[in-house]
Symmetry: C2
Subunit: 446 residues, 2 copies
């Protein structure tokens, strides 16, 4: 089936990778509001170049690029992608410049290649392969490509709420996925929610000589005491009511989890750890992975951070924290509870600007579209490992009512998304396009 | 007395300030091991230019520059200074470039002008004034100028232990001092000790996507828990035995303190604080200032510190801490106790490299040389406020046995040493040279 299409994909692999490189050379870091317009325009151009209709939807933040091709098929497939990337810091840990992608030992390296510019291009090139070979597409196609995924899709609701018809489809492919540590492809049916906040302390008009620490208050220590109060050393989150309303995993989800092999020893080697958090292992480890919310420090800043010693009492200190939320929790509610917690502990002066947030969402593990993706994967890669949810976050909640989403992609467990030396395996990228062809084929038989 | 000498000082004020600027243009930041040799050579040249003998003493670190002039007088005056400076970070808070000094509204701004390149030059120029006017010096002169004061004078003992004859003198002027918030000049008779350490935590092979925080350990949280365990919210330091052996203030010192007006309300305005640490005021505030050791965070670092959000679980976290020590405490002992504390709390993995350290030392408040400085100050400035010790640190302990030291200088309470926009008042600088002339005169009558 569709031999000419997959042959076109293989024959033009270098060309499609060239498109990824071009897109990745734009440092479209949403956190810094840099390069977003340029990246949106390039994505729009890519759609136009393959003959698709497009529309740019302005929002209060970055634009949402949509594109579509209605071939009059019974089924419609929607893709959700994003053209923004995480910051590339710390730059000195990259083996090659983050925004100058290059292939080494069969992997393409660069910020955004795996999350998710490579996938975006793979989806565009799969549609291109049908068109350029004169092959009828078996399904109608829709694309939603946003530019603020890495900062919590803060303005995406402005688009989705006004375009529920467009985002309605029979099946949807979410932005990421790939090969697990067990060598099998993985699909993710849900995403945790997120609440990202910064704790900001200011105690003095300016940094002063640290000898005065005997009589002046310390912003840094105040931050330490406040952050310490949020979580104990067994990782219990101490904010009152934090765990209220959490929906436990369903029996169907527990069944799905049972089949999953975490490959604990291999993961320990990857991360160079002797044990997982709190000594978790086996079923407890798996349950924590799918079911636990978190309170994680993404960044800590105060005072002098250079070499050697500088004796200063810093005026300011801050801590970036992301809370991963599971179904039943809401970021606004956690923000209120965090404020209440800090006030109760006497930290009324600590500011907590809300940086991003949205709730969790999941596609049911027994949805027919999940089976379609599983079958298609079998044709190209083999067995598919199905995760009821990713521990990561994404604005799936905006789409949940309108389309069953499954997240698959060209990455793997060594892709280092959000870290230096982000990469994917070129061969997986190639086969992920074959899988898309198979998904379209399977959908047409549904 | 010595009218021609003080006139020479006044007539050549611009020239001596030009020398400060030249010295301050060398960014001799000891913490970064930058510009030290260049600064040492310039200081040596300044001594040679006024006809003094000099010697450069190599150490395992920066060189010690000494200089002397023996006029066969009964008394000998020793100066202790340093040619290194603190780092200038954060650069963006400076109103003019830190290493391009400039005068604005009667103040000279630049890194090191007040701590202590201005004082160093003032002392050289005072001797020059005697020599250039053909006036006999009333005392013999010795200079010890080191290059690692800002990183704990780590190698200075290599010099002082081998040169006890040279550092023996009837009186010594320590590096810093100036005008207090009450408008009076201040002298400091002692210096607290210091123990500067960095707590370093590493928990993962690399930074990873923060979604994995549900199963992987957090270096940043581990640092928070460890640093939290060192000090409670009432600023009690919780390291076992930390306060053992501390010598309380003597009755003579308490008498001296009683005369001191802290000008609490004015200080609160300077620092923009509603209250001092733990609500301290009156006698308690004063006692804390002279008598309390500290455990202060100079710097905190982990993960992403840029704008907006980046969802990362950082592999590493670190905290720079300086402990100010009072008489009876020793940095090596505190280092051991800190290690024991962390081990006991389960933080055996946290590394604590010792960055600098030395004990406290004080000159007795009733020493005759203190009276001489007081008298000389009266002749030029008026009343002198005598502090039994500075809350700051310096390697006074190396000199204590050989020379009674008093710290005075050209700074003031707004000098912002160790901070952006370091400066001094030019008029105070001028008069501080007149005071040196008066000290030499008073010493000759002793």
């Amino acid at each position: 089936m569709y031999k000419s299409v997959t042959k076109f994909i293989d024959d033009n692999l270098d060309n499609s990778i060239e498109d990824i490189k071009t897109l990745c050379r734009i440092p479209s870091v949403a956190a810094k509001n840099e390069g977003l317009e340029e990246a949106a325009e390039l994505v729009e151009k890519m759609f136009k170049d393959i003959g698709l209709e497009t529309e740019i939807h302005e929002t209060s933040g970055a634009s949402v690029v949509t594109s579509w091709l209605n071939v009059g098929a019974k089924r419609t497939l929607l893709f959700y992608d994003h053209y923004d990337v995480q910051p590339a810091e710390p730059f000195d840990l990259w083996d090659s410049p983050p925004f100058e992608p290059e292939i080494r030992n069969g992997r393409l390296y660069g910020r955004g290649v795996a999350d998710n510019k490579g996938d975006t291009v793979s989806r565009i090139w799969t549609v291109k392969a049908f068109k350029d070979t004169g092959t009828d597409l078996p399904v109608n196609i829709k694309f939603v490509v946003e530019g603020e995924e890495e900062i919590g899709s803060v303005n995406l609701p402005e688009y989705t709420e006004k375009n529920t018809d467009f985002i309605t489809a029979d099946g949807g492919i979410w932005e990421f996925g790939g090969e697990g540590i067990h060598g099998k492809q993985e699909a993710w049916l849900g995403l945790k929610g997120i609440f990202f906040v910064e704790l900001q302390v200011e105690r003095l008009s300016r940094d002063v000589h640290s000898s005065t620490a005997c009589i002046l208050p310390s912003a840094a220590y105040r931050l330490i005491w406040a952050v310490n109060s949020l979580k104990d050393q067994d990782s219990n989150i101490l904010i009152e009511g934090f765990y209220d309303g959490i929906k436990p995993l369903t029996d169907a989800e527990l069944d799905a989890i049972e089949k999953i092999d975490m490959r604990e020893e291999e993961l320990k080697k990857v991360y160079q750890i002797e044990e997982f958090l709190n000594g978790l292992e086996g079923d407890d480890l798996k349950k924590a992975y799918y079911e636990d919310p978190t309170c994680n420090i993404c960044g800590l800043t105060s005072g002098y951070q250079g070499k050697g010693s500088m004796t200063v009492l810093p005026a300011r200190a801050s801590c970036k924290i992301d809370f991963r939320l599971v179904e039943g929790m809401h970021p606004d509610d956690i923000h209120k509870k965090l404020r209440k917690h800090l006030d109760k502990k006497g930290f009324t002066d600590i500011k907590i600007p809300y940086l991003e947030g949205y709730p969790a969402a999941k596609t049911p593990v027994d949805h027919p579209f999940v089976k379609i993706v599983e079958k298609a994967n079998q044709r190209v890669f083999g067995d598919l490992v199905i995760h009821p949810t990713s521990p990561g976050s994404g604005p799936l909640y905006l789409f949940k009512k309108y389309v069953p989403m499954v997240s698959i992609g060209c990455g793997d467990y060594e892709s280092k998304t959000h870290s230096p030396n982000e990469s994917f395996v070129v061969e997986n990228y190639r086969k992920s396009m074959h899988r898309l062809v198979a998904i379209m084929d399977e959908m047409s038989k549904w």
